[in-house]
Symmetry: C2
């Protein structure tokens, strides 16, 4: 049986879960894979802290170089996080002809082009199943299982923290701040949850999925990202009345020459499978021209689920190594069309919209707003006007009420122009809340 | 670029969809896989019928031998169906050192042990992604994506025909006969739907999934199978009142040394993700010790979805061939524990039950039935007794009404003993309806 030596950089929750599984489930992994996977060395910045899982002193590396320069190590597993440090380490390891397994979505989304080109040059493989949707084998499904499909759309719930928060706002009526606090107390949100809350984490993941689906690298700085920090419970309630559930969706759609990639809070019809994905679970829908609609669901984070994905990469790449192969077995590279993706500009988004205005409670205001929408060719699908008084307007002490308009499919550009006109005419006394709606017509 | 020659046996809906996709999506499949997949020959019993997709005369084989004896053919794709004919053809092809891709669940469930042993001997691979859940890449997920998991349970909706029928009984109140007729009219049920309706098709599929999950071959004749042909709309309605949806579930659970495999109509709580899988869609839940709960959802049948799975196997096995490898790359064989699975006997099933008795409308009958349940240590979780008169009893012309008992977890043996006693005491004037309930306590 072929022995595969791995070196692990990063010994936090994920790194220690990898070691733990390779210990406790050694027998079944060996039986299934025919490989003897040996953790040769592990590096972490500080060995003098409490470890999640014990490791023999002989395996503790004091420097990263001990791992990337070890001639016997076949695969370097990067589960340290961050960007600069792992970028340096991974590029060095590749130059030493190490295969790489990483859970680092930020790194791959922002520096993927460099890293994958280098891997090509040095004929090594990069496994990144753990970078997207934790334990769900979505990367393998896209690359191999659905290889015979022209993907038109891939979208899903890719961040467990924000889904936990939105679920608790929806089911328990909590405010964003309350829900975030609770998520932190339960360990579902980090002390600094910025990258989760503002949508960046989901955007990293959808950028990776978009590359595999559409065959080119993404300029991450051009991806449209909107988080959930400004979501008001009121909109969740009003959406529910219209038959919608609010989710932070990460979406990538092909429009022929262009690809639309965005992360934004999205109203989904309540019957939609993703609207039932609650709490910290993730789910990804893939639409292929032959397979139709498929969905992959599971735990998107956590030590053991993520380590499950890391080890599946180790096994698959280990099989290549055991047969003295480099990249020969790889199916579906990140740039299989050999052309960077051209992203659709925000003004060219074309979708349905939920717009909540805050309007003075006077006769005729709906007619005025509706006429501006008509002027910009925006067709109205539904309206909710509530008697409930939101508050008194600051200056005039007039009553103001929420007025919600659900549109048919419209262009983002026209929506923005219409809203600008409505606000400048003071038909809405505040900037309206705009939430995109993913619902076929 | 390596050319992979395939020969296809069977040119019905699936076979012609394989050829169609390899034609229309040739460019992307080549870009993703780096392989040139060439359909060298196709065999079907009768070329003088209307074909679903045209094929060049030069590729039409008149005998199967033209394919299995063709030295240039690398992979034989069997999409003919049946058991005896494909068994003969596949074993011959293996002896000629052809790799095999098949969509034939019946063959693999009933003759898998022979076929996989032969493949081992001749060092060829067998791809069967298309045999279970159509286009959903569940086989690859189990073998590779979830390789680092000890699977405790795998269950799901694996037959689209019966799910279409049950969905239409649930949502439209149709009778089984009406729903079946409609399914046949829409092409979702075959003219002879026996193997779908009686649960055999789902049982074939779950047996294959059980082998991969638990690492041994299954004696298919020992698998417990119950179909949906006796399902009454009344039970669907009463189940709904208790918060349950009826699905034909295929279930495989590990109990240490034994594996429980069964297909039966099952009440699932309405919140369960599988209870929302409607119409012809399939879905499989997998519970792994590290990944937790995952679900895979998509179209379980149809030409293009199934062909999508067939081609993913052709690509993966094609990569082996392109690198002059045999079975070297295979991860997770059907008998990775090198021991046949020991199946749990029916009397040792241990689950929750819905039992509908038909009882005379007289005082004290519930107490009598409850006392029999108590005698056999069966704890009652809920009761529905309806005033609605079902019918008059034949002989005595007494009124009879439905009495439903939902139990806590109980042994099948005790349930059967209790029911025997209840019926022999004429507390129930008809044999009760028994439906298993999959709901954690």
């Amino acid at each position: 049986m072929k022995k595969i030596n791995i070196g692990i950089v990063g010994y936090g929750v994920v790194g220690s879960s990898v070691v733990k599984i390779l210990d406790k489930d050694r027998e079944i992994i060996t039986q299934k894979s025919g490989l003897d996977i040996n953790v040769k060395k592990v590096y972490t910045r500080n060995w003098n802290r409490k470890l999640f899982y014990p490791i023999d002193d002989s395996k503790k590396a004091k420097t990263v170089d001990e791992i990337i320069n070890d001639k016997d190590i076949d695969i370097v597993v990067e589960v340290a996080g961050g960007i600069e440090f792992p970028y340096h380490l991974i590029t060095q390891a590749i130059k030493n002809r190490k295969n790489i397994v990483t859970a680092n979505k930020a790194l791959l989304a922002e520096k993927g082009k460099d890293i994958f080109s280098l891997a090509q040059k040095y004929d090594v493989r990069i496994g990144f199943e753990a970078a997207v949707a934790g334990g769900i084998p979505i990367i393998k499904a896209l690359r191999e299982g659905l290889v015979a499909n022209d993907i038109s759309k891939i979208y899903g719930i890719l961040n467990g923290t924000t889904n936990y928060i939105l679920t608790s706002m929806y089911t328990e009526g909590k405010s964003f701040e309350q829900a975030l606090k609770e998520a932190q107390e339960k360990g579902y949100a980090e002390a600094d949850p910025t990258l989760d809350i503002n949508g960046t984490d989901a955007a990293h993941k959808i950028s990776i999925l978009a590359s595999l689906s559409f065959g080119g690298f993404v300029d991450f700085s051009q991806v449209y990202v909107e988080g959930i920090d400004k979501i008001d419970t009121l909109d969740i309630e009003l959406g529910r009345e219209l038959g919608y559930t609010l989710k932070l969706l990460a979406i990538a759609k092909s429009h022929g020459e262009e690809v639309e990639i965005r992360v934004n809070p999205t109203f989904l019809p309540s019957w939609h499978p993703l609207s039932k994905v609650d709490g910290v679970f993730n789910a990804v829908m893939v639409e292929g021209n032959n397979v139709g609609e498929t969905m992959f669901y599971g735990r998107g984070a956590g030590g053991l689920p993520t380590a499950s994905a890391v080890i599946s990469d180790i096994v698959c790449i280990g099989k290549s190594i055991a047969n003295n192969l480099g990249r020969d077995l790889e199916i579906t590279s990140m740039d299989w069309k050999h052309k960077d993706l051209t992203l659709t500009k925000v003004k060219d988004f074309y979708t349905r919209y939920y717009v909540r205005f805050t309007v003075p409670d006077i006769t005729g205001i709906l007619a005025k707003i509706a006429s501006v929408f008509a002027k910009y060719n925006i067709s109205i699908a539904a309206v909710i006007q509530k008697e409930k008084i939101l508050k008194l307007q600051k200056e005039t002490k007039e009553k103001v009420v929420p007025l919600v308009i659900l549109t048919h499919t419209a262009s983002e550009n026209n929506i923005q122009l219409a809203i600008k006109e409505i606000v400048s005419n003071k038909y809405s006394v505040e900037n309206p809340v705009i939430i995109r709606v993913e619902d076929e017509e």
